[in-house]
């Protein structure tokens, strides 16, 4: 059962990582234009260098 003392913190940490990632996406307005973002990724305009 000693393995639990590793597994529980690890699962909490990973879940927390997911939560932090989600909160980051909400904070940086990534849900403001879902339809537009879905289309933008199809454009090859900024394929070779990022948009300045």
């Amino acid at each position: 059962m000693l393995v639990l003392s590793w597994l529980i913190p690890i699962s909490l940490f990973l879940g927390g990582l997911g939560l932090a990632a989600f909160i980051y996406t909400v904070r940086s307005n990534q849900y403001d234009d879902p339809e537009g973002d879905a289309r933008r990724i199809l454009s090859d305009e900024w394929d070779h260098h990022p948009k300045p």
Binding site: I8, G16, D32, R40
Partner: protein
């Protein structure tokens, strides 16, 4: 409702799409917002953004495809009309949006806040559920206690953060000595937490940490759905208001200047061009023209305008430029006169209690009494405070309104989404339920059943030569009647006659010389004819011949006939009440098969008629667009106005019709009825489930496992039932 569901922030971060570059933020000091109704694809985004960026003075432009909008950050010298021209050059239709009116949508704080709480509750409930599963599977005593303590450590901070909306609402209700849905929710969550902690401290078997969290999670989903439905409606309504950027042309000593209507003061001189709408109330000081007052009074016949006459905000100037001196601005304009009437209508309207509130009124006290009875019963029976408290908590959790809290939002979200796709915007939270009860429909005429644009009716009565002259005269004018004549004549292939010295006389008509004779097309008195009671333009061809009348009716709105027929087929009583003259109203009523009609109704009359119908026990749906309808729209049980209506009318109505077509009105009644039926069904399911589960809980058989199962299953069943809505 699609893309906004939170990604499951569960134990699998690899399942989350790796965050790409953060979406570029909307330009901070974006000064100009444009609505782009025609964009739809990636190519459009690139074309618009690159096209705007290439324009000198534009710092940056960002398209939002979901909202079909572009935000532009540009030099102060650049104005919206410049950019509209640029986009027109690229082949995109663009309209200026009032950034002030949009601000509320931009920062949807509440929605983001709810989403954050939902995400945290989801994360915590899934972790605690994992721990609980091992406890249910029969973990040994030491392990069980460890898992309970870990669950407590996760649950307590999560509840403190995520359940705060419920706590706040419950406190707000309790502090005015009332009960609402949030009181039993709060009590259940807190009691579950306290008994679970107690149990854990005594190393007991049953802890309800997972139940408290799942409850919060499910209820937050309901709250979030509810919030989104309202936010979508609100932002669409704001966009409609933002589309009308009210500007007026102020006449000063140095020339004319365009300023926002809000900056006008009493005594200012304002120029109103033909086709423009009066921004304020005033007195005409210069110019002659005709005014279209249909939005204010419902009458379709334009009235003559000359210096000294009064003009009201909302009237449309038809032929010549006018200069008016403002006599009332802003809130004091003709809207203000309607305000008293609207206030009276509002006070007469019976307050509608939504189905959810009715259910909550029965439910909240019932649950408290049940839990209290279970507690007292067990305490008297066993004199064991711990067992009694445990069972009371189980009863509260089992009865807690997961299903009730989800039942209504899930159905309204589904129904509003469906109606929105058909072009109906539900503005008011209970509008759908009220729409389902409607048995009488009252229509306004001008601008609602009709387009408000004239249509020539007696084209075939004229000699080709006469028509050629009329066509040639009408071509030179932008008066709606002239444009209608020109259109009709062109449609049958008339060639215009050769005329000399065509001149438009604002307010009267157009005149010219034809084969040495004076020909005139215009108002009856100017041409020398008798004014009939129908909308008409008169043509005189000189030589003492009697002037001929071109008669018009108002063109029917698309789908008006079908809408009326379908409503009558649903055995609803359809009425037509208009401010227009008797003759045109009678013709229209006959054409649409409406037996019950009333003409020359003042705004007071309309509201009074609706109040009278309401007193007879009828549920009235009012459909209208004008300022003269606002009181009636407010007085009715539920009201619809087209998007083309005046702002005041749109504000007063519960539902806005976005397209030109009227047919969705009849269909929306059916959808509303089905939606309400689903809500009732969901309540029945929830009640049935409570009847099954409460005896179990009160008898002390509800283990945390049973509570978790029962809660999840009932929530899923009501959600699926809501999605069945077609």
């Amino acid at each position: 409702m699609t893309a906004h569901m939170p990604a499951s922030a569960a134990a699998c971060p690899g399942c989350l799409a790796t965050p790409m570059e953060p979406a570029a933020e909307t330009p901070k000091d974006a000064r100009i917002a444009l609505s782009l109704p025609t964009i739809h694809c990636q190519a459009c985004i690139s074309a618009v953004e690159n096209g705007l960026a290439a324009h000198p003075g534009v710092h940056s432009a960002r398209v939002n495809l979901t909202l079909k909008r572009v935000m532009v950050d540009a030099e102060p010298a650049l104005t919206a009309p410049d950019l509209v021209d640029v986009l027109a050059g690229l082949g995109y239709e663009a309209h200026e949006l009032d950034t002030g009116a949009l601000r509320a949508t931009e920062t949807d704080r509440t929605g983001r806040d709810l989403l954050m709480r939902l995400a945290v509750a989801g994360f915590a409930s899934m972790n605690v559920m994992l721990l609980s599963v091992s406890v249910w599977a029969g973990a040994g005593e030491a392990t069980r206690d460890l898992f309970h303590w870990i669950s407590a450590a996760i649950t307590i901070p999560t509840i403190a953060f995520s359940a705060r909306p419920f706590f706040r609402n419950a406190w707000a209700a309790l502090s005015v000595r009332r009960l609402n849905m949030d009181v039993p929710i709060t009590l259940a969550i807190l009691l579950a937490l306290v008994t679970s902690l107690w149990e854990t401290a005594l190393s007991g078997q049953h802890a309800y940490f997972d139940a408290a969290l799942t409850l919060t999670f499910f209820l937050l989903i309901g709250r979030y759905l509810d919030h989104r439905t309202r936010a979508v409606a609100r932002s669409a309504a704001e966009e409609l208001a933002a589309l009308e950027v009210p500007r007026a042309s102020l006449v000063t000593e140095t020339g004319e200047r365009d300023i926002p209507v809000a900056e006008l003061a009493v005594g200012d001189l304002i120029r109103v061009r033909p086709g423009g709408r009066m921004p304020v109330d005033g007195v005409i000081t210069e110019g002659r023209s005709e005014l279209d007052r249909s939005l204010l009074t419902g009458e379709t016949l334009p009235v003559f305008a000359e210096p000294g006459r009064a003009a009201s905000a909302g009237e449309v100037n038809l032929t010549g430029p006018l200069t008016i001196r403002a006599s009332a601005v802003g809130q004091d304009t003709s809207l203000h006169r309607m305000a008293d009437l609207v206030a009276i209508a509002e006070s007469g309207r019976s307050r509608y209690t939504s189905l959810a509130d009715q259910a909550a009124k029965l439910y909240a006290p019932g649950v408290h009494i049940l839990a209290a009875l279970a507690f007292v019963g067990w305490y008297v029976y066993s004199f064991d405070l711990r067992t009694a408290l445990n069972i009371a908590a189980a009863v509260l959790i089992i009865t807690c309104p997961c299903a009730l809290g989800l039942a209504v939002p899930a159905v309204t979200t589904a129904a509003s989404g469906r109606l929105f796709r058909r072009g109906l915007l539900i503005k008011h939270a209970t509008a759908l339920e009220r729409l389902a009860e409607v048995d009488t429909v009252v229509f306004d005429k001008t601008g609602t059943l009709t387009e408000g644009t004239p249509e020539l009716t007696n084209l075939h009565e004229f000699q080709p030569q006469t028509l050629a002259v009329a066509f040639a005269l009408a071509r030179g004018s932008s008066h709606p009647l002239s444009m209608s004549i020109a259109e009709a004549a062109q449609a049958i292939g008339t060639a215009p006659a050769q005329l000399q010295d065509i001149a438009e006389v604002p307010g009267y008509g157009t005149e010219a010389t034809w084969q040495g004779r004076r020909v005139r097309l215009g108002r009856a008195s100017w041409v020398g004819a008798e004014q009939g009671d129908q909308t008409a333009a008169y043509l005189s061809v000189g030589d003492g011949a009697a002037p001929q009348a071109f008669r018009f009716t108002d063109a029917l709105r698309v789908g008006a006939e079908q809408a009326v027929q379908k409503l009558q087929a649903q055995s609803k009583h359809v009425l037509l009440i208009s401010g227009d003259n008797t003759k045109p109203v009678e013709i229209l009523a006959t054409r649409l098969g409406i037996a019950d009609w009333q003409a020359e109704a003042l705004p007071e009359d309309k509201a009074a008629r609706i109040a009278e119908l309401t007193e007879q026990g009828r549920r009235v749906l009012m459909v209208g667009d004008g300022l003269n309808d606002t009181a009636a729209l407010t007085a009715a049980h539920v009201s619809i106005s087209p998007a083309s209506a005046l702002d005041a009318a749109r504000v007063a109505s519960d539902i806005v019709l976005l397209g030109r077509d009227l047919t969705p009105i009849a269909e929306s009644c059916v959808t509303a009825k089905r939606g309400t039926k689903r809500i009732r069904e969901n309540f029945q399911i929830a009640t049935f489930y409570n009847i099954m589960a409460v005896p179990l809980a009160a008898a002390g058989y509800a283990t945390p496992l049973i509570a978790a199962l029962a809660m999840s299953i009932s929530s899923i069943i009501v959600s699926l039932n809501a999605l069945r809505l077609k």
